[in-house]
């Protein structure tokens, strides 16, 4: 077998690929309208995550903290949650949904967040906020379990579980995007609209690419509504694009409401987008229109210009969110690029059983490594000390110094990508995403050829 799947051998982490679960829950929470989350823990658990997401999106948005200090850590901090809910409701009259997101500290001290939600529902909300629609959603995301990826999965599941309510069929499809950018949502909605499919997109985050307007203050927020969430139980089908970011919620809907469900593939590249469209067709009975044949043709045209002349046999390492990494690797193979190293940054035991990873193991005809529970030292150590040669790195901004210090061109993709301008605006999914990815990979390699005087004259004629 050419492709090996193994876990990082070291127990510790040097330069992590992911942050922890509450960050994923927070990213979910900002996708919902009239929702401000309360993170139950120390203030850093919010302040830094807000900084991280705002660096990526170049936007601000609101997430609150229960501000657990020393006495709370010692004597229990549920009173901090009660105050936080009250203060938030008093000062933000539009707020209807408050997820209460736990952290390592409040899980270790065993704060009964579910209990305090019942208490608030029966007490404060009835007494002080009677007549106001308020939903308190406990979300358990201890930082010592999983990663930001599983935090996203858990939070999405918990929101769906809380809201989804069976009534009449709504004639809609549930499309669960996973952890994507505003630009991806735009592309997915474009594909849906070309197919004339009415869908509930979780989450509607396009407005995190928000304008500076001549009047007043603009606060970026998601546009997924309570009705959208309730209605997920009444869809005729669910497609979850990412297994690890939304798969759990899709399975819940399937099991509880018998909704036909397809999980995956992440529509990165032509082939996976083709499959996505086939799945849409299968689920809706609607034909794939000529306009998408045209769009696909544009993408194939763009890729043909690049693949065998410039991209073939280039060796790439990819790290980041698992569905993204696998999708990118599959796309690279279609482009004749060799993904020689994939790094998945947490210890999810399911990775080894993932059919996509099994397929890589069975079919890849060059030496390839897939590292689970990986950190960025797994990448850097191979380059610095074990002779790994790479032509390109695909990954997020936290790995920038691996590329910079080892003179390897790198295309920023995933989350976060704060060290490049505007990447959240562009899709990596769909046909437009395929064009963007391939052309950016090529341009990244071209710029590197010029800096290094490595056959830069090749581009005199193209």
């Amino acid at each position: 077998m050419n492709c090996e799947v193994k876990s990082k051998e070291r127990v510790g982490v040097i330069n992590p690929i992911f942050t922890c679960q509450p960050a994923g829950a927070q990213y979910v929470s900002i996708g919902i309208r009239d929702c401000i989350g309360i993170v139950h823990g120390g203030q850093g658990c919010v302040m830094f995550v807000r900084l991280l997401i705002s660096q990526h999106l170049k936007e601000s948005f609101e997430i609150a903290s229960s501000s657990v200090h020393e006495e709370g850590a010692v004597f229990g901090a549920l009173n901090r949650v009660e105050t936080a809910v009250d203060v938030l409701l008093m000062r933000y009259p539009h707020v209807k949904i408050i997820p209460i997101i736990t952290t390592c500290s409040t899980e270790v001290i065993g704060d009964d967040v579910d209990g305090v939600v019942i208490k608030l529902n029966e007490g404060l909300l009835q007494e002080k906020y009677a007549g106001r629609e308020v939903h308190l959603v406990p979300i358990h995301t201890p930082s010592f379990v999983g990663s930001m990826v599983s935090g996203y999965d858990v939070a999405l599941h918990d929101f769906i579980k809380y809201f989804a309510e069976k009534s009449e069929p709504n004639g809609k499809l549930n499309l669960i995007t996973g952890w994507v950018n505003p630009g991806d949502v735009t592309e997915l909605k474009y594909l849906l609209s070309e197919m004339q499919i009415d869908a509930t997109v979780l989450f509607e985050i396009e407005n995190f690419d928000s304008p500076v307007m001549p009047d007043g203050n603009v606060v970026s927020q998601g546009d997924t509504t309570i009705d959208d969430l309730i209605g997920t139980a009444n869809a005729y089908g669910t497609i979850a694009l990412n297994r690890y970011e939304g798969g759990k919620a899709a399975q819940y809907l399937e099991k509880t409401f018998k909704i036909p469900t397809i999980i995956g593939p992440t529509p990165i590249g032509i082939r996976n987008t083709d499959t996505f469209l086939q799945n849409l067709k299968k689920m809706t009975g609607k034909p794939i229109p000529k306009s998408l044949v045209h769009k696909r043709g544009l993408a194939i045209d763009a890729l043909t210009d690049l693949t065998h002349m410039f991209l073939a046999d280039k060796k790439v390492a990819i790290y980041g969110n698992p569905d993204l990494v696998i999708g990118l690797a599959e796309f690279c193979l279609d482009l004749e690029i060799k993904p020689v190293l994939l790094l998945l940054g947490d210890d999810n035991s399911f990775y080894a059983k993932d059919t996509r990873i099994k397929a890589l193991q069975e079919k890849v005809d060059f030496k390839m490594e897939i590292i689970t529970n990986a950190d960025l030292w797994e990448l850097e150590n191979r380059i610095k000390n074990e002779g790994l040669e790479l032509d390109l790195i695909l990954g997020h901004s936290k790995g920038r110094f691996v590329a910079i210090d080892n003179n390897i061109p790198m295309l920023r993709v995933g989350f976060p990508t704060y060290d490049r301008a505007g990447l959240h605006r562009y899709p990596v999914v769909g046909y437009n995403g395929a064009i963007w990815l391939a052309e950016q990979m090529a341009n990244t390699i071209f710029a590197d050829m010029e800096y290094k005087h490595n056959k830069e004259w090749v581009l005199n004629v193209w």
Binding site: G12, Q21, I38, F48, S143, D405
Partner: protein, 518 residues
Amino acid sequence: MPYHEFKCSECIPERKMHAVVKGPGEDITMALPLGYLNTIPGSISERGCAYCGAKHVIGTPMKDVIHLSHGPVGCTYDTWQTKRYISDNDNFQLKYTYASDVKEKNIVFGAEKMLKQNIIEAFKAFPKIKRMTLYQTCATALIGDDMNAIADEVMEEMPDVDIFVCNSPGFRGPSQSGGHHTINIAWIKDKVGQVEPKITSDYVINYVGEYNIQGDSEVMADYFRRMGIQVLSTFTGNGSYDDLRAMHRAQLNVLECARSAEYICNELRVRYGTPRLDIDGFGFEPLSNSLRKVAMFFGIEDRAQALIDEETARWKPELDWYKERLKGKKVCLWPGGSKLWHWANVIHEEMGVEVISVYTKFGHQGDMEKGISRCEEGALAIDDPNELESVEAMLSLKPDIIFTGKRPGEVAKKIRVPYLNAHAYHNGPWKGYEGWVRFARDIYNAIYSPIHQLSLLDISKDEIPTGNGFVTSGMIANAGLAEEVISAGDLRQYSGKYDCVSDLKNKIYPDFKKVTEE
């Protein structure tokens, strides 16, 4: 000085004591906002935690150290590569971060064994690095891991390594300030006095409370070296672990950020009798006075004056060019802790701007005392501000610019207020004479940005100027200037390079012969 009640905070009356307006003829003796109290849950405050105060602010600038956090991976990840504190050690401290990666089973069965394995692994991965700082987090504090015992065990087994333990979990205190205190005291208690340094000058200082943001401390160290002063250690920007273990051998502690690092200076005075001298690297006058004070302590005033004269002659005409163009511009000075008083008066004096509001996220009342006494009449001072109050203040005060953090800067952008990053700077360093001009330049470029001007127009109803294909910042600035100012031949725009720090590394300094014996 009346307390200021924000409309958005009327429902949380305890907030009223946290904001004041500096009324006509009033001073800080009349009222002072409360400070450094527990945060109101759910208020969307901008505070961080005590872990970040210790690890992220003070620990990590140390340049030759493995910075390992004992806990789940998030604390480490979140406080990694979000600062601009550089070093001359190829930025090792920025590039590498380490987490013991505590998982559920470790929470249940204890994480001490895996911590030890972690430490050994980290040293093995970086064989040239022999120093480590270990940071506690919320999770490992609560399960009660004895990190000191593990550190001692490793040091016994690996005699060439040294490990510093900082027990400052995130919940320890109302804000990051608690962490500053903890790491200050832990360092002097556990590490100072362990290394005997080579003394190369008659005049030896520690430079304390300076974190080398974009090269600040390298700029200041350059001045000290030109005066023949040995900078034994910097606490902690561009600082070396072993140099900092030798802090007890300095003759003077020169303190920059009194908010985050006065504790260690006070302890050094108690334990070793080393005097503390508070200085200020921001602004021509405060900086010149600071250099004179340090020089006076050693009796080398002439050296300081020569440097001050040279730097002032080189850079003052450039500062004044900006001052002419920034006069009367309204500033919200909204940093984290000490910069409100470092900057409040001097940006008014030397750049001509009006400080209409100050706030502090983690400052104490002492910081507010200094800040309020230095800002303009009518200014609004806010302790532990929150999101809604900040927006309300910006909408009512209508500042021309705001100095704050990255994410609040995004809020300001949407209200069409230009922002400069008060923590990481836009194009720093901002300390030193040249740095101060760079600060003025950044303010000018923000306020007079043609794009910022365009953001104020509503194309659906405003009169839109269509005659110009472009406008320069200069054209906008000149519109409000007298002709003799525009044509003043003795003033000029900033003329330095994009990177004004790197060249300092190769600089050769005058050899002041050491006179005294050790």
